[in-house]
Subunit: 622 residues, 2 copies
């Protein structure tokens, strides 16, 4: 990451600005400013959906832009956000047609029942105004009133500071807001019905917020934004490097996260028609690096072996200390971590899906760039993380893209090749779940063998012609055409290369090897697994048969594999609604046995083995 | 208080600056900057001890200055700090000869025994450095180590933020500092021997700090400064008005107090040769207004009837939040108040001197501009405050002054009039204890009668000539000369006027009436008093016989009246050294019954009666 000064980019018409390093793509800058633009072609510059109007100096248009834009458009300052880099201070207008909704963000997770005991309570008090005969202090006046209702009250200095004028402006008819026994706000009149909280899933790519009614336990609204930190680094390694090498970098990453969380809060408040000041509690799950950055904790030790976090305990702090614009003394509870690469998000998954020990053996897997997994067996839990690489998120794959409209998300190979895409648009690339599906079908059809080698066109005679003609030789070697240039929405054929298959083998191999290492360390076996829980977006969209076919997960009965959606977010919601759930999260984090795969020879052996695709025989054999 | 902008005054050679309202005397500005100047004449401009060198625009010299300074001195910028007012930004040099030590600040108080249980503990830890086989988080590494010693540890986010680099720079050999179970600092190496705290008595005139060794309970140093808030208002009423009417006034008063507390801390650290960073706890006693101002709590309700504080509970906050330059997460405990005009200082007095209930009836009195008193009877305590006016502090009296060098502090009238002064300098005025002494002697000699009327010269034939010739008639009426113009160090006679006697009557009457109201409310009487404890400077220097003679306190056996020195400060030290003492202070504050004299008709009746001086008969009668 360069040490250069950051450059200001202003987004019109509302003047939202953001500071980014030189060379940042406008699309990323837009995302950092919470102004997502359409990017169905995945940033290849082919779809022309991300047109923006630029005012100020930018670099020369590249070949893709020259192809996608007319001379007239270029002359009037129109550029593609996905190709244009920031070189100096500019102002950017995003036309309505280029604005994007955040797509396919997985916000739902199964929410199990829990007690409603959020620690936030409100009490309406009609107090006697002070007189010379009754000179009790404002705080003690309130405390004595509440004591009669068996409520103990402890002062919070920031509330005390303005208490006297608040009491008088409320004419001593006020609502006391308590977190536990601490007085966190005093409001004029009776506001006992307004009592809300937000559960955040602070992902490195996406941040999701759930607005919950703390009086009823109801979910009132959900909102999600891209994590604007992406502008400072695509992945955690890049962000840690930015935080530790760029002056003020850690603060920038922190503010970016806080800004996004505030943006979500505003959205939620607007859609549920509530006041931000009536939000008294928030919970946050995220990986260890994300929560360290949010809390302003030094992340340098997370960037180098042995990847030691500064803290695993849960941390509670007042909203104003983080800059979150709720009730000023609202409590923000950042849930506990387990290790440097197994964070509160995994704890959230375990809390929402694995904390009832019914004696069975269960596995939860959350697959992203990092795969985190937890195994419950014999009353104990074992967790680990494996670096899968970005293949499952559609990156590092020649025609890969995120699960946005136009992404191929399922493939069927029979007499011919049939595909489906997100939102049924013309295909422009392939996303992670599509990749798994495609390769599973190619394995079944014999286009790819157990070792990952792709059939050469000359050996493809046994296939239906409509299929065999899709195996082609190019300068990159053998490729399989999922969509021809004519079928494609980007004007380019969408293919899988031999290299793509290798990427997938590495990714799925590392996940499955990690699963096997957990299973062996726990002293159990595949056939004892009563359930595999797939958490997260990838786990939600993937076709289970295909995941088993390529050997991403152990070959167990299809019915035993359950997608549990945003289980991390569900954990955050449980902890928001119930103090006992937070205590449970603490126990889960404390008791989980973390396996460091890097030092386990077993894992290396497994990895070698699990890079291969399972033979049809192996799968039947189970 | 004017709404004008504040003016900067710089004190050389060290460049300390202070912002004061236009019209502030240089002597007050100096005091606000912690640079006290000599003022033996009490600011009358007659002693010429407070010469300073001024650079910048100031007003014209007044008559007193023209008399005290030569033309040459005036030409070279020399002025009297006690007469020169600030009109614009200036720089002031105080010559060595004009510098003053703060005089007769009462820092000692009787410190009773208490347990040593300050909540601050330190533990040296030799930890294993992280490896891939041992990836525990930094905090949990420490927590597990300490758990083996039965120490529970809770994280403090600010400590966690830098924990990783601290651990590494200490090579995992570190000292953990805990307040209760909260980790408040981690220091490299073994620093367990360095463990200190400061007890503050935050008076409206003087601030005293006691440096205590929290490992041994020893007092290591004492330091005191004038309260620099005096520049914004002499008394509480003026400061409340400044805080509530001047923009940013409350913040200025707060910073002034914090600056002074930091100055004391630096002095203490320098004289005891310790590091400020090894101070982990401070306790503060002060009146309710002073502690509200320190904590940034709105004082407007303290400035108007019914004088309701915002809070009475004790408040604990980290040092950095107040701007105190100790260990950043050191805890500052501001002790509890009882009412708007009975604050933590009175609680401190009660804690150090009255908390053992041996079944006797005891009275503690702390006399200043406000007199606060507490009566213990039948296991219950009764407290009240009475506005005595400034007579006991030497103000409002024609030749009155503080107890600085040259103040008459005792008077004996026999064949002649003999006086003694502070530091045995030539007399330049009379302080509170001298005033009480003088009037007691004048009563005994028959110069003043029970009603307070002074003998006229024509009726003074019965007195020795050396005494009677000191009764003179002036345009102000009858005066009694304590020191003639020739005997005086100021070139002016030092006299007591009929008006001075009236001021004293009012002052002593209000105190004694308050005492009687307490005694009657408690259902007891003077002769059941087993002890009267006199707290504070005035109580320390006053001659008990004289106090009884003028009827300031009830006429009980001389031996039953005990000066207990700075008992408020002693209370702060107890709370510093022992958590249970803080709990006791909380109980004392909670249980004390506060009498609001303004609404008690009894008090008004008593006041009428107690304005008179007791007759010799009454005193003998007891």
């Amino acid at each position: 990451m360069s040490k250069n000064k950051l450059i200001k980019v202003i987004f019109e018409p509302d003047g939202m600005d953001v500071f980014v390093p030189a060379g940042t793509l406008l699309s990323k800058a837009a995302s950092a400013a919470g102004r997502a633009v359409e990017a169905p072609c995945g940033g290849m510059g082919t779809c022309g959906k991300c047109k923006v109007i630029v005012s100020g100096v930018v670099g020369e248009p590249d070949v893709a832009e020259r192809r996608a834009l007319t001379e007239e458009e270029l002359a009037s300052g129109i550029r593609l956000a996905c190709r244009t880099k920031v070189v100096g201070e500019i102002s950017v207008t995003i036309p309505e047609s280029s604005r994007s909704m955040v797509q396919k963000i997985l916000s739902q997770g199964v929410l199990r029942e829990c007690a409603l005991m959020s620690s936030v309570t409100k009490a309406y008090c009609e107090l006697a105004a002070p007189t010379l005969e009754d000179e009790r202090a404002e705080f003690e006046r309130l405390a004595v009133y509440l004591e009669a209702q068996d409520i103990q009250l402890k002062p919070n200095l920031n509330v005390i500071r303005g208490l006297s004028s608040r009491m008088r402006s409320g004419d001593y008819k006020v609502t006391a807001v308590m977190y536990g026994d601490e007085l966190i706000a005093v409001e004029c009149g009776d506001t006992t019905e307004q009592c809300y909280g937000i559960a955040y899933d602070l992902g490195s790519t996406t941040i999701v917020g759930y607005l919950m009614n703390l009086k009823t336990g109801d979910e009132m609204a959900v909102s999600a934004v891209m994590n604007p930190q992406v502008v400072y680094g695509d992945d955690l390694v890049a962000r840690i490097s930015f935080a530790t090498t760029q002056e003020g970098g850690a603060q920038m990453l922190q503010s970016a996260a806080v800004d996004a969380m505030n943006r979500i809060a505003s959205d939620l408040a607007a859609s549920a028609k509530i006041f931000l000041g009536n939000i008294y509690k928030a919970t946050v799950v995220g990986n260890t690096c994300m929560s360290h950055l949010l809390l302003g904790i030094d992340v340098s030790s997370l960037g180098q072996s042995p990847y030691v976090p500064s803290v695993c305990s849960d941390i509670t702090l007042p909203a104003h200390e983080l800059g979150l614009e709720f009730c000023s003394e609202a409590k923000v509870v950042v849930l506990p971590n387990i290790a440097g690469f197994v964070g509160a998000d995994t704890v959230g998954v375990m809390l929402s899906s694995m904390c009832e020990d019914d004696g069975t053996t269960r596995l939860a897997v959350d697959i992203g760039t990092n795969g985190e997994m937890a195994l419950l067996h014999g009353g104990k839990t074992y967790v680990c993380s494996a670096a899968a690489g970005p293949a499952f998120e559609g990156a590092g794959i020649s025609c890969g893209m995120r699960g946005a409209p136009g992404a191929i998300d399922s493939v069927v190979i029979g007499e011919t090749v049939r595909i489906s895409t997100v939102n049924n648009r013309k295909p422009i690339g392939i996303c992670g779940s599509g990749l798994v599906d495609a390769v599973a079908q190619m394995l079944d059809a014999g286009i790819v063998d157990d070792t990952g080698r792709m059939l050469s066109p000359v050996d493809a005679g046994f296939l239906p012609e409509a299929v065999s003609q899709r195996i082609i030789e190019t300068e990159r070697g053998v490729e399989f055409v999922l969509a021809t240039k004519q079928e494609s929405g980007s004007g380019k054929a969408i293919t899988l290369t031999a290299g793509d298959i290798r990427h997938l083998q590495l990714a799925k191999g590392s996940i499955h090897a990690a699963i096997q290492t957990l299973i062996k360390t726990a002293g159990t076996s595949d056939d004892q697994l009563s359930q595999i829980l797939l958490a997260g977006a990838f786990g939600n969209y993937i076709r289970v048969e295909s995941a088993i076919r390529i050997g991403l997960i152990p070959p167990i009965d299809r019915e035993k594999v359950v997608s549990i959606g945003n289980a991390a977010g569900a954990g955050a919601r449980l902890a928001l609604l119930c103090e006992q759930e937070t205590a449970l999260a603490r126990q889960i984090a404390h008791k989980a046995r973390h396996l460091e795969l890097a030092v386990l020879p077993d894992y290396q052996m497994e990895l070698m083995e699990r890079m291969m695709f399972p033979s049809a025989m192996e799968l039947v054999g189970e």
